[in-house]
Amino acid sequence: MKFQIPSLIMAILERDLRLALRHGADTLGAVLFFILAGALFPLALGPSPELLRRMAPGIVWVCALLAALLPLDRLFGAELEDGSLDQLLMTGLPASLIALAKMMAHWLTTGLPLLLAAGPLAIMLGMPSGSMVVLLTGLFLGTLILSLIGGMAASVVLGARRGGVLLPLLVLPLTTPALIFGAAALDAAQTGLSWGPDLELLGAFLAAAIPLCPLAAGAGLRAAVE
């Protein structure tokens, strides 16, 4: 039984990626939202390059955070509705690993596209190319954290009425540390300070989330099918 676990996780990932490709519009939706929301800021704030350059880190991070929230509602919701969650649990894979596989799928279908779109958005806002490495490293860690915490929250609100409304209220406060460290690292990079410690704190946050979030999410999934 034990040797099957990686192969089952891969099977869930394959299935979710295939579904994401078949329903391309849903997958692209989060990225398009990210780019559009980012593009609204110059319109609202005025086209001052200096102002936009200073605000760019915050804009990219906040937009990424909000965009990653969009598909969370369906992450487990779709599985619960069509009975697939029962069948996933009947594969014998521990519930926390099912949750982990789904979180990885969320990152591959949402976090990774966001990461790819973040570069162009940052250039559009006039961020200096020198801080691009810091932005992408920070966002790489940040999107992973978002998928983990988001997946946990999505499984907790699973089965609750109006769970979609509850979800951002749960995720956003929990992800503020990631936002603070990520934006602070970028700020430091732009002002010529050392940005290492902020990214290390982000990494520490991720290291804590990797074991804890799937465990909590697994309990949430078990409770949802009861």
């Binding site: 069509d82 009975g83 014998g92």
Partner: protein, 214 residues
């Protein structure tokens, strides 16, 4: 070899239900809507924890290790649990990976091989049910828990189901099914769940003439 007994006390739905089955046995769960047939199946599948009582497998508490128990059980729920965007074969991939079974063989025995590469959204309700039954076969599990397996099936498939049941029981497997219609399960025992007491059911339309509803 395989002995299951269930004692379960739940205040509302099921009250101290118990039974024992041997290898090759079949059990039909009957009873009015809301009697707790599906709930009982979900408890047996390990998806739900009973508030009281135990599920025993060969004398050992089965729900203590639910991952291990999942390997012994093939569960068919109300819903067919098919992803509409995936083809039939892709829908069965995960179950095949979990059990090591051959999806093509299982689709063949339910007569849906020709539909293997069609997306599930193009299938009829009965064809989807057959796909879900193919997944039950695929699990290669000794205990089949089927929630109204005959839902939407035509006469031919019912016959097919009969042969599959017989082969499964011949090999020492157990079938537990909820149903409202006769299933092709010869010598099956029946457990009638009583449902709610008459006095508990609200009956506001008691003297409403039924003909008027038509």
């Amino acid at each position: 070899m395989e002995n299951i007994s269930v004692f379960r006390g739940e205040r509302l739905v099921l009250d101290r239900v118990g039974f024992t089955l041997d290898a090759g046995d079949a059990l039909l769960l009957t009873g009015p809507n809301g009697a707790g047939k599906s709930t009982l199946l979900r408890v047996l599948a390990g998806l739900r924890k009973p508030e009281g009582g135990h599920v025993l497998w060969s004398g050992v508490d089965a729900l203590a290790d639910r991952s291990q128990h999942a390997g012994r059980v093939a569960y068919l729920g109300h819903q067919d649990a098919l992803k509409l965007g995936l083809t039939l074969r892709e829908n069965l991939t995960l179950a095949a990976r979990a059990s090591g079974g051959n999806p093509d063989l299982c689709m063949k025995s339910l007569n849906i091989s020709g539909l293997a590469d069609l997306p599930a959204r193009m299938l009829s309700a009965g064809q989807k049910r057959r796909a879900a039954l193919a997944r039950v076969l695929l699990a290669q599990a000794p205990l089949w828990l089927l929630d109204e397996p005959s839902l939407g099936l035509d006469i031919n498939t019912m016959g097919l189901l009969g042969t599959l049941f017989a082969a499964h029981r011949q090999a020492g497997g157990i079938v537990i099914a909820t149903t409202h219609v006769p299933l092709p399960l010869p010598n099956a025992r029946t457990l009638a769940l009583p449902g709610l007491n008459e006095s508990d059911i609200p009956q506001p339309m008691e003297d409403f003439p039924e003909d008027d509803l038509l």
